[in-house]
Symmetry: C2
Subunit: 629 residues, 2 copies
């Protein structure tokens, strides 16, 4: 039944050979890789206003330009720094790899943990913000906000389990549509102002504060979310057509310019239009003032919504891939590196969906609340990645390496300062969760890795093991115990099988009282079986303990090297509901026995036929069978 | 961990010998067996008013006497009828046994199903009504009604799992306390009226209806819940001191008189005091009018609450016992006849708690809503039990058997008419659920019984089976397959063991691609092992299917009678979290292979040591181990 449901939702499984990727150039590389980065335009500017407006009121519309300018400078520092990463890692330079390569395992793990947290928040923030756009434009949907968010996460999960290929060109169209609609918004906005339009003065309730550095830094920290996703290009270098490195660098430069125009343009426009984003999403409110509730208004809302969903989707391909890389290196459970039926990393996809859905519910889909957790992780991975590049130049040198090292070093230093700023100014707004979580994840990942090392150590085949294989098998005794509950076909089959694998077999029974024991003994005698029957009493109605005690007893005379096979007779029924009708003690016994050295557990099944088939043979009406029993 | 929690909640396990029952005479038999029956006084009268008041307003206080009189007549018919059951079933004459004995299996099953439903409703109704008493007296508890109900169910469940002995005399005290406090209430009430007290006229909103027969029958159906639990005495005959039958009959007579006084007295008193039980529980409201909020007021509320909880508790011993009897006769899963650590039928107790808790939540702890479902089941079992007795007289005859048959026959007829009345008048108020549920349960029970018959048929040892045991084991080939994922200590141990149980062993591997296969083959060659290695490819990353295909293939040359042992190498880890780090494909493979005839599954465990122990042996700091890997 589960299998059927899975087929309907996920579709038919794909063979390994079905894997391939479409490569792209600049034209499609830009939109495909940019959705995460450019979609942040939808919330970054608005979040700056959220910090400033309640503190300094209308002054906010002045100070926002300072903050925006700082973020755009940071953008270009990052861009220059990452261009060098692209050049040096033509196979993809994710923070995990760059940090691990150049700074050591620990740095790699930290970057991996930070990035994982970042991906999860990308989904939570993008989906929440996307739904914000929708419910701002279509107010009647407001009560269903959380339901809409969860639906979208589910939709992305199933889509990705089915194996959406992110590299497909269709995924580029929404990014271009978004860029286009926001450009139109900015241009139309300025034209309207030039034509003498005076935006209405909104009411802002605020308790006046002086403009302090702390306030500006806090706003800056919120705005830094505009830069999340910019690293996507450097991860994806191998997906570009040749010359891949060159194409990737061009795309990164173009992407930075796009962010400059869209982010700079919209935040500046907001200062002129005095947008107060408490009533809804900033871009949609702005579109309303500029276009009224016309066609273009809905275009802005729709394209913003779609680009945000696509941004969440990039996390659905990025997170499972990152986790799979870490799983191959054994920092997380190895199963996460296994591909599902559709060749997607199903486990990673499901984990991402679950955790981000949980976050959305916990924070009630509130973008501002989620923003507090965001960006810390991203900037930690930026810092580690750039530091790694910095160290790399010192090792590898090369032409002009001093300048290149300076660029990466400066990038690392700047992003490190930003990490500190965000962690401190946003600490109480949620950054503390991430600041606590990342070390915990790192600790867990180290524990996991050490476990796998310890397991590999113990599983490694030694020369002594090889010799054991050659040894004549008379050297150890093969002994068999068949626990029987009663005398039936299943137990007789097990006894018979036992005789074929060893000459040292006993049947073992646990009785509740002597009467029951006597009955069994008598029936057993009638079998004329050469296998001795051992009976033990258990006042506590247990089976396992008496068996283990018996094995340890002098009577059994267990000797070092003896191998005991416990053959459990079992019968399997035809239908699921029939399983409920039989006890499953054997499962428990198997599990417990497997904890003991030199015990092998064999399960000997007897497949029962369907009830109807058996009862039909009796050639009697059902009520008669019932009455007679 | 689960084991620890269980010990704290349930206590230490008891050996079988700990079982014994205290026997009682009339003095303690009456209160111990009466709690279910007399506690219904707390809701039966009130439920009659609930039917009448909204329809006919103050006329209700007149008509209630008619309805009460009818119920009391019914009570004495039942009493006479059940006295005969006691005499004929000194070992306990539950409806299930009496019906099965005299009317056949089907009637027994129907009675069993009806009684099961009845027990579940006893818990739901008694607990809900008990909490009603409390929240009427202590209004601030009203918002926590459902939580209180669920807490009480949990409390009874744990108490019964720990093994409360119902026959203990302490269990008699609350019943006497309740009888005493209600008697005082009735007497004080009449004295107060005699002394000239005029109760205030409450406001009753109602749309006037004529007094129709249907209305009176509906009220009668609600009031019949007063008679639930009266059968308890006939079930418990063997718990009485000798002469048991005589003692039991006396107790039944006394019990009927007690109900007559308490039920008759309180409902009549309610007519004088014009109690409108919409604001709370009738008995408590009446106590308030008679005593004011004095000490006696709280005594009435407390004793009523306690007797209702005790009534629920009788279901906690009755239901598991009934279910255990049915389990021994294999109409329900046999595990329900197994006793838990404390010699109580744990599974039955847990099921009762869960289902009744669910009912309480579903019906929001509303007694009136639950009453709709109640009584149908009880009266079905009354009818079947009395009909059984009726038929019995015709078979067994004896002195004055005509009169005795007439008494039981009349009882059966009356209760049958009541079943019809309740089922029709309460159909839309919930009786339909029970009317639907009982046939479903009966159907399920027949299916279960037939399954057990079919299983027993197939497990029965035939002479042919006995011969098989004597046969020389060269007659069938014992072949072994060891599926290996890679070459490690676990797989080598499994191969070594395989050699000791058969000369026909192969190692089997499923590779995803040729490269992987080649590597394994080379490593395997170096082992110099005489066991051949078979490799198959699986494009869909599956293991089970290629193995089964291989067994069917000509290459393997499976011949009828061959027994294939599949030895699965496995390793067990020390801590629970480490389990997450390894896949559990072997469990799935074991489960699937057991569906195939002539395949025995053996699991060969390798117990891994604790990580710390292994890593310490490396004599290196942890970070170095990490970096080197």
């Amino acid at each position: 039944m589960f299998e059927k449901l899975k087929r309907i939702l996920i579709g038919k499984p794909l063979p390994n050979e079905a894997e391939k990727t479409e490569k792209y150039g600049v034209l499609w590389g830009l939109p495909i890789l940019s959705s995460d980065a450019i979609s942040s335009v939808a919330y970054a500017g608005q979040e700056i206003l959220y910090v400033l407006l309640p503190a300094i009121g209308f002054l906010a519309f002045k100070e926002i330009s300072v903050v925006t300018a700082a973020i755009i400078i940071l953008l270009f520092i990052l861009m220059l720094s990452y261009r060098q990463t692209i050049e040096n890692y033509p196979n993809g330079g994710g923070a995990f790899i760059v940090a691990k390569d150049n700074l050591g395992v620990l740095a790699g793990i930290v970057a991996g943990a930070a990035l994982s947290v970042d991906y999860i928040l990308t989904v939570a923030v993008s989906i929440s913000s996307g739904v914000d756009q929708i419910v701002t434009a279509l107010e009647f949907l407001k009560p269903y906000k959380i339901a809409l968010c969860l639906f979208l996460v589910l939709f992305l999960m199933i889509g990705n389990l089915r194996g959406i290929r992110e590299s497909s060109r269709i995924f580029g169209i929404p990014a271009y549509a978004f860029m286009f609609s926001i450009l139109v918004l900015i241009i139309a906005g300025y034209i309207k102002l030039r034509m003498g339009y005076v935006p209405p003065e909104p009411k802002v309730n605020y308790s006046p504060h002086p403009v302090t550095l702390v306030l500006l830094l806090k706003a800056f920290a919120s705005g830094c979310t505009a830069l999340t996703g910019i690293e996507a290009v450097s991860n994806a270098v191998p997906n570009f057509k040749d010359p891949a490195t060159k194409h990737a660098k061009t795309v990164l430069l173009l992407l930075s310019l796009v962010i400059l125009v869209l982010f700079g343009g919209t935040t500046l426009l907001a200062t002129h239009y005095h947008i107060v984003p408490t009533e809804g999403a900033m871009l949609v409110l702005m579109a309303q003032e500029i276009f009224g509730k016309s066609f273009m208004y809905y275009v802005v809302a729709a394209t913003t919504f779609i680009i945000l969903v696509f941004a969440a989707n990039t996390a659905f391909s990025g997170f499972p891939m990152l986790v799979a890389v870490m799983a191959k290196e054994e920092f997380v459970p190895r199963q996460l590196s296994l591909k599902g039926d559709k060749l997607s990393y199903s486990n990673g996809i499901i984990i991402l969906a679950l955790v981000s859905a949980l976050l959305i519910v916990a924070f009630n889909g509130n973008v501002t609340a989620l923003i507090g957790l965001y960006a810390v992780g991203v900037f930690i991975s930026f810092t580690l990645s750039q530091s790694g590049m910095f160290v790399r130049w010192f090792k590898n040198k090369g032409s002009h390496w001093h300048i290149k090292a300076f660029i990466n070093g400066f990038g690392a230093l700047t992003t490190f300062v930003v990490v500190i700023i965000i962690a401190i100014t946003k600490f109480r707004e949620g950054a503390w969760i991430v600041v606590l979580l990342i070390p915990l994840l790192v600790f867990a990942m180290i524990k996991v890795k050490l476990h796998y090392i310890a397991v590999a150590d113990q599983l490694r085949v030694t020369p002594a093991d090889k010799e054991l294989l050659d040894v004549d098998h008379n050297i150890y005794r093969n002994r068999v115990i068949v626990p029987i509950e009663s005398l039936n076909k299943a137990s007789i089959r097990a006894l018979r099988f036992a005789k074929t694998i060893s000459d040292n077999v006993i049947a073992f029974n646990v009785s509740i009282n002597e009467e029951q024991a006597k009955k069994l003994q008598e029936r057993y005698k009638m079998l004329n079986c050469s296998i001795p029957l051992v009976i033990r009493y258990s006042p506590y109605r247990k089976i396992l303990e008496p068996l283990l005690e018996y094995i340890k007893s002098e009577e059994y005379n267990y000797q070092k090297g003896d191998m005991i096979t416990v053959i459990i007779p079992k019968f399997t029924v035809q239908r699921w509901w029939q399983k409920i009708l039989h006890n499953h003690t054997w499962l428990f016994i198997e599990k417990e026995l497997l904890k003991h050295k030199h015990i092998v557990v064999s399960v000997m099944p007897l497949q029962l036929k369907d009830d109807d088939v058996v009862l039909k043979k009796k050639n009697k009406p059902l009520w008669k069978i019932l009455e007679e029993d």
